[in-house]
Subunit: 386 residues, 4 copies
């Protein structure tokens, strides 16, 4: 690309966690620079955060509305190219919708919106505007996830039969929201998080990863959500039976009360001919399971010539040089930036770059949340996810 | 004990798998000797198998009825002390029931009977006879399982919240029963296996292990059983949501079609104060999870003075000298033999020896099978396990 | 075999560790029975130990001399067939030598003798007597070790280049011998253990495993032995550079002061075409390393048809049913018993049974100890092992 | 800091590997920007590489001499603040020396120079100039390495006794330098790499990591270097016995011919009271070994309040969000940048930032290379490293 793309950020000021990740991820490959921000809902903190990040004072805005309006007034070619939304969930829709109206491309954190209705409206708006929209289901950015997907697409596992996807965490095993821990406070608050805490925050990652890797679509599910910490208003644990279109079945369970589990997202898929396994905490390893020969350990960056183009494209380092969470996250930004850059400069992105979660993934995610919450309250076994 | 206990065996002849395991397990500690057998339903094969095992010709019987009658005629103190039943499931009840009638103690493979009704009748008979009865849920014999149980009983995890128990295997991913593989053939046959294949064979181990370790009782469940291999008459995979009396929840899944999974029984338990994890394929490790300090790796035989008496009693070797499947299995036999020996010789067994699965575990197991099969066909979400 | 072989045992009474292992290992497969013993150098303890083990009173001897003489007087076909020696090292030679003189086959614990001279004399005696002699380098009994050896023999790794063999333990990190711990007391005593503690006890296992698996012979070495615990008279740690005949090189290190290491024997071998790795604490896994495709995980008992006959013959259970230390140890006894039985009964053992460590392994082991001790004191770099 | 620091880069153009890593690492935290470069020894490729990286055309130089001269002519406050040297080894010294002469701070890849003499001259120059100089022994940037170091410094392991450090790789198992693979070509070339390939490239990392974590100093060593690939001029494998000042002993082995090993640097340290273990390919885990309680698994980002300030300062993400090679590398740049920024702006850096490898580490590294090469040729056992 002839120049770096210009990013504006809403949210992610001092005290936030994910904002810093987005900044590292966006700029890692030298394709994007942060040019403006409305980093906090508190105008003073917003400006202080901007100064720390070397954002020009006049582009460190006091509110997201100011930022969108202000940037829209800057001449094309100077203004920000896209906005990244890293606020609590309830603000995703208003910011994204307004940004689209003003012609900006959007990167939005997940879950995409506060509720399913917003998600569907946003999808229509994206479609009508023709704008580029990326949703940061970052776990799909790992090279070995792309390798898993490529192998399933090539038919190496045969017809899929069973999926086990889990996402145990332990950080909310005690009532952390009663302290002033910012993450805990908004994620357990139905006014800001939406209808679910555990399933909304991490269950959706599990759902998205499953559908991305397997190409299967959840058809119906049976959920049992729990709130173990007294006084908490939203679920902090959930177990779900899955039925996929085409006959495969599965289990999804997620938890925020599984003490000392850190971020133990994992996926196992079994088909008629083979299986595979991936664990987020050791992300550079993909285990292949065969019916008739020993298990194989595929590794990020290995040069035995067996890796898919998709995995190779998502890899920056030779094997044994661990790539982690930031690099996977950066793969989403890189692909998004390559597509946006090509659009702005009139070229074509590399085919592997046309691979990042979109507004449709966002709708699926919100539908998943909606369905598990309804299922958990239902007395019949199966609730359709449609 | 003043002498070795005398064991007779029904089933377990040439071509069988589990019979040899029972023999190694029973005799490992020098407490038991094999003195008679009806090792096959084919009288000729039965005698040939007996000869291979150095069973005296006159005590190598042509049928189990002959054996029970024949041994009953031998003077007390010379006859077998107990019978071990390692046949396909449909024969467990008739053999056990007749053995009890004739005053023999019984060790029986799991699942205990063909159906729940038989299980309840057998339980009554055991109670009325006062005989010793052991069921070989062998996975409860592992030292680290006993350690896990002891820690939960001592309250180290606090109130339990969540259980994840899994038992994936892959050996029935193709229609192996169409070959003459003996194990596959009877386990997939409703006439010999009972109402379930996967849940009966391994799901019950998962259920038993869970209740043994946690002390919790499954109250209700929601099951989704599948048969993936065309033509197969029983389930070869199943996913189950669990609700325990007292409020804990969980997931149990088992599979025989998860390609290249060997015997991957595992258990994770999370409470208010901590968690633990155990995996059968690395059985000498127990992982302890804490809210406020690093994860700990407890090991069989370690001499840091933290192991429970129950775990130590179940351990034969110093740490780092792997004890395996046979040793765990032998722990059941040793405890059973110590209790039976004490009864025969008039003493008291060590307190740790009063710990082996009984007919009540067998009834729970059959109730579990019955409930998952009913739940899988039900349209309501929860089926009570009572 | 028409009957079980009769074993006598010297050493291994109450308070011993390895004696019980030998008994479990010898009898696991129903090929051997313990018929007599001189289980302790203390006649009273010897008899009490014998009674516990159900040895007939008249064959529970007060000393090993009595036992050898006593058994020799029993008619052929009734007397013991072989003697197992599980005493401290300094007694191996006198017992073995006398047993050979009286025509008994011998199983002897390692290191074979007190010093190299004894080892060479014993080797001559074995050769001249034509007797069967087995040395319990038990780690060579693991199925995956036999698999490793078979693959190297078949040339799968190409010309070997590098070996890394380690054996860290931590049990002697403090002066345990000052307590009355029996194992620590004799192993650190030059009068009973010989010239080395760490290298004699476990370094020899590492040496033997290396030569067994690779087929290579150590040509010269450079050793640095240490004694870290004050007051200890023998080495408790050692690091050794290895040069093999033919050009391969390697490192061997062993330790008894590596805190919290249990029994972490491991072996890595690299050749021109591939490599492999095995770890004793997870003995059922063999890792294969390839230049041009993903790493493979070979597992004991796996039925993908790729396992060598040697590994299969050494396996009792299906994959995922962990076989451990006792089973590996039992493989030595089984092979020895099959060979001895064939000799007694006039047949041929299965070809895979002709595989157990012999008196020649014992001489190599004693030569290794002698060489590392000399090298450690030398100022020149290389000391020839010849 | 009031502004980003300005970095110039020598080397690292198209086709290079480590240059891109340095750029990602330097800019990850938003403290540094790349402003100029002499990215290749070929002026045309240098400019093309610069354009790709959005370096202003006039600051994309045709040679490193041009760059140093050119930047020196730019007014203070506009010119680059420091130069990063990522060329083959033989150019490190001339570039660094000239840069220091012209008053630039320097970041230099390792090994620091072509030979020991250059290293000592450079150290004197750095001392005399008072300039900031960082050497990218990047593995010391991992949080768990800093944790290990902090715990040893606090005395948790007691007096250290034994160190095992290994660095196996397999990428040079075949004569890759005969192809046009750039990395292989210069690293095996004595004209560009110096006196050693394997020990120079990765052995020095092992040496540096060991001394950094343990605080011990290698006093003498005994090395056996090998060249396994025919025609290769430098070592591709080496095994080394270590003696540390104060009495600890150890083993260091490194390899480039250990097939299918990726980048398996690992470190184990044992003291009188405990031990620890770290493996670069799973860098976020530190294993603590205790004499009297279970092994503990310490994890990057864990919030159980036990992590040292040094480890916390080096951590960007919550536990379970894997940080990798780039993040560890970035920790060196961040610390260097914070120190340089403080110096330029007149403040004090955070105490944890005063922690990056310096010219003294570089001299130790070159002395290590020099000593292992001499030792490998020597006939006496020990060669002093002084």
């Amino acid at each position: 690309m002839r120049r770096k793309l210009r990013m504006g950020m809403v949210g992610g000021g001092q005290g936030a966690f994910i904002g810093a990740v987005h900044r590292m991820a966006a700029t890692l490959d030298g394709l994007v620079e942060l040019v403006c921000g409305a980093l906090s809902s508190d105008p003073e903190r917003s400006r202080a955060s901007g100064a720390e990040l070397h954002i020009a004072e006049e582009r460190s805005y006091g509110s997201w509305e100011e930022m969108l309006d202000g940037e829209a007034r800057i001449p094309l070619g100077e203004r920000m190219d896209f906005v990244t939304i890293v606020t609590p969930n309830h603000l995703h829709y208003p910011v994204a919708s307004r940004a689209l109206e003003q012609g900006f491309a959007v990167v939005c954190d997940k879950p995409m919106t506060f509720d399913l209705d917003q998600a569907r409206r946003l999808a229509r708006q994206v479609e009508e505007s023709g704008a580029l929209f990326a949703l940061t289901h970052n776990y799909t950015g790992y090279p070995m996830i792309k390798e898993a997907r490529a192998r399933i697409r090539r038919g190496e596992l045969g017809t899929l039969r069973k999926v086990v996807v889990e996402y145990p965490q332990g950080w909310l095993a005690s009532p952390l929201e009663e302290s002033d821990q910012k993450q805990a406070s908004w994620r357990t608050d139905p006014e800001r998080a939406g209808a679910s805490c555990c399933m909304g925050d991490i269950g959706t990652h599990a759902e998205n990863l499953t559908e991305y890797v397997t190409g299967l679509e959840i058809e119906a599910l049976c959920a049992d959500l729990s709130t173990f910490v007294p006084g908490r208003k939203l679920d902090d644990d959930g177990n779900v039976l899955l039925r996929f279109r085409g006959g495969a079945r599965g289990v999804l369970h997620a938890s925020q009360i599984s003490i000392d589990e850190e971020n133990a997202l994992s996926l196992r898929v079994y088909g008629q001919k083979g299986g595979l396994e991936w664990r987020q905490e050791e992300p550079n390893t993909l285990i292949l399971k065969h019916a008739d020969r020993p298990r194989e350990i595929v590794r990020t960056g290995a040069n035995y010539g067996h890796l898919s183009p998709e995995a190779s494209f998502a890899t920056r380092l030779p094997a044994g040089h661990p790539e982690g969470f930031v690099e996977a996250f950066a793969n989403l930004y890189r692909n998004f930036a390559l597509c946006l850059g090509a659009r702005l400069e009139g070229g074509e992105p590399p085919p592997e770059a046309r691979d990042f979660p979109t507004v449709d993934d966002g709708v699926r995610g919100m539908l998943f949340i909606d369905t598990v919450v309804r299922s958990s309250r239902a007395s019949e076994k199966w609730t359709s996810m449609a």
